[in-house]
Symmetry: C3
Subunit: 345 residues, 3 copies
């Protein structure tokens, strides 16, 4: 599974698989992917951003994936495509050493309850645990040390990397990728206070992930209090993200690292939340909203667009002065208004 084991293709095969027009030797065999600058003579490079056009003439790559408009400038064989970035994505998957391996079956050390419903070609890694009543679709891979809780459902073609936890009753769609350390279906944070102490509210809901969802390392998606926490299709969630109970995320949205979403908030479709963004609870964020990194959203958003909060870093010496003034800001504004009134007499 190291780079030395990368699959190899001829350029002709690649052109066919990528739907690209090949200009060059169809029989040349390549075995890897790299940037224009770093590609070696057995690798394919790609040009998907004009900023790297300067690296094209000097590339040592065996072939370059690019838009036809840059074909002439290419010193090597070329694979022409209208969208070379999508082509790069497709090529990267062809070269992924994790894909296309023969499934290894259920490891002898794995504990799979007899009541579990296992699809075809399922792989369960060493010391993984599949609890009673769970169902794993065809071609599911469960990594070493992962735990699938009772009655959980994992859709066809999904992969749990090592040490993933899918809690009881959680439903994962097809082709999900769950990275190590993530936890799907831990309890939501619900307590009633009696004036003196907390009383737990059992979290009776579940979590439902749509198809083609990816969840990063060490991220957590909590189960609902009553209804389910719902993650739509094609939602991409980075590492260290926290999604609280009864949150809903619309299809095709993407959440960068360290995002935190409080309970019952609904995020629309095609939204993008930057790293470290925080959404308060019980909000509704409409479709097509982008929030820049580390912004705090405390009100619902009803109009698509880009939203931000906070202030960027500056030298600490200056920041200290400005941060002090922030505490006087209301006073400053009032004093300014007074001056204006005096001027206006």
């Amino acid at each position: 599974m190291t780079r030395r084991d990368l699959p190899t293709y001829t350029l002709g095969e690649l052109a066919g698989l990528l739907g690209a027009r090949l200009v060059g030797d169809a029989d040349r065999r390549v075995s890897g992917l790299a940037t224009l600058k770093e590609a070696g003579p057995d690798q394919v490079a790609f040009l998907a951003n004009r900023a790297y056009l300067k690296d094209l003439p000097e590339t040592r790559a065996a072939a370059v994936l690019l838009h036809p408009q840059h074909g002439e400038a290419c010193p090597a064989a070329r694979l022409e495509l209208d969208n070379p970035y999508l082509g790069y994505a497709a090529l990267s998957r062809l070269l992924d050493p994790l894909v296309g391996r023969e499934p290894a079956g259920v490891h002898a050390s794995a504990v799979v309850d007899p009541s579990v419903n296992l699809g075809e070609r399922v792989e369960v890694g060493a010391n993984a645990v599949i609890e009673a009543g769970a169902a794993l679709g065809d071609d599911v891979i469960v990594g070493s040390g992962s735990v699938v809780g009772a009655d959980a459902v994992i859709g066809e073609g999904s992969r749990l990397h090592a040490n993933v936890t899918v809690c009881h009753g959680v439903v994962i769609g097809e082709r999900a990728i769950l990275h190590s350390g993530c936890v799907i279906g831990g309890d939501g944070f619900g307590f009633a206070h009696d004036g003196a102490r907390w009383h737990k509210i059992a979290q009776l809901g579940g979590v439902v992930l749509g198809n083609d969802v990816e969840v990063g390392s060490c991220s957590s998606i909590d189960r609902g209090a009553l209804g389910d926490t719902l993650i739509g299709d094609d939602v991409k969630i980075d590492s260290q993200v926290q999604i609280a109970h009864n949150v809903q995320i619309g299809d095709h949205s993407a959440l960068a690292g360290c995002v935190g979403i409080a309970g019952s908030t609904k995020v629309g479709r095609h939204c993008m939340l930057g790293g470290g963004v925080g959404l308060s609870g019980h909000l509704t964020i409409c479709d097509g909203v982008q929030v820049t990194g580390m912004s705090l959203v405390t009100n619902s958003i009803t109009e698509p667009g880009v939203y931000s909060s906070g202030t960027g870093a500056m030298k600490n010496v200056q920041w200290r002065k400005n941060a002090v003034r922030f505490k006087q800001l209301d006073d400053i504004a009032k004093r300014l208004s007074r001056l204006e009134k005096e001027r206006d007499g």
Copy 2:
């Protein structure tokens, strides 16, 4: 453990268990809990917030948990209680499929060191590990894949979900709930710098959790450098929280998701920290402090109340202008003072 396995009760039984006054058929059997809007005819709903009063007349629930003042408006059987939200919490626990199961004992694949002291009715899940010298009180449940380190102590009735890590020597009180992926007792972040490089300070302290503590998925509580990191009774900690070495959290405090507390800070009793709040190190936060989401606290707080920092999200176009002005804020304040002086001239 799925919703199909939810325990069932008659309304008469529920009234007795909840200490509620039943108006309706005591023999009617119910098997679930839902909102007024979503409850089906075999479920109980609850009204704990006037905002949902509008849903009461149309509810299809078998019975509604509510305050006596709303009894007349209820179209179904009712369970009257002075504090229906506490009643909801109690009912949710009665319906929790994880509670009241027969303990399954120590799974054959679990590794329990012969020196471990196991209480009565302890359950240890598949591929869990209990290291030498640990002690687990009566009715402790250790989920699949969890690891309890050497000499750790887990109090009666505590539950570790799957893939939890309790490190060596950590002491967990009674009735704790530790969610998947959390780590109690990893090293605090302590290094001495010699001018060129770092030298590790071994973290010789431990972590002590009081009774009735809950820790969310993927949260971490680091062990002390010398003394212990101390978490009081009835402290509730959400997911993705980081508590550094030698922090102390007073009884009954609650920390929402993604909170980070730096080393040696003391948080009082009955405090509430919103999602993503950060506390600097070596602070003292008095009892009864609330900090709103994503605020940064860099000074001790000596007065109970609500504290905040930061700014809320706005459209990026406007934010850019304001954020630039923030960097000029000290200058703006000085220019304003000058104008005022000239006026007062």
Copy 3:
């Protein structure tokens, strides 16, 4: 592994091991380390910060580690050193119950692929998994439940605590310490958008950690898209940190809890990032930069020094007013300029 098992030394032995000048009884046996205030008569205390000088006269410690200038004021035996804080660090390691144990070998329940290359004195804990092609150097310790992926390399003397995940092909240097729940080598967050949906970019790079790196509980370091994510020598990473794909961290830098670094950003040598700091992607941060807690850095930094952003917490009542004014800040600045112009007429 509890405090009762702490190693013991005579003061004479300690003086030799620490390179300290002993004034006192070389044969006195001590077995622990504590603050001046809390040390008992069998423990060593230390004075490394003048703030604690007041505790020196009353200490009950058997001996005190201190600078010679404070020797006269010490009521107990003393171990004099030019840098007592470094001395404390060294002493803490001598007293670490985790160090110096006999390695326990490979536990019977661990799954070690026959192709794995195991060094001398390697310890693999219960239910840990070492996948095909991995190589573990001499004196490596892999904690219970940890998973080392295929073809990963773990350098001599490194320790993985319980439930750590090192993904396929990751390279860990010598003397690393990886705390529970951390994940090294999960996929970076890379997708190409076709206008309607996301297409995964397989993350074909790896992660390379230098020597003497420490990674805290529940932290994640993602593998590179093409090249590797690179962590230099002696880099110290606290808990709950997220490092995205293709980030580079220079030697001797330290990242406090909850830091998040977006893709391809390069952090220099000897940098210090405070808790919760966020760095945007594709930045370059030069050597010797410090960023204070919860600051957001969206631009490259080319000058060493201390940087900050955000505003500290204040009472919510005042904060609300100031936060509203922040949204008017550009307007306030313009109105002020107008007044100045009018004055200057």
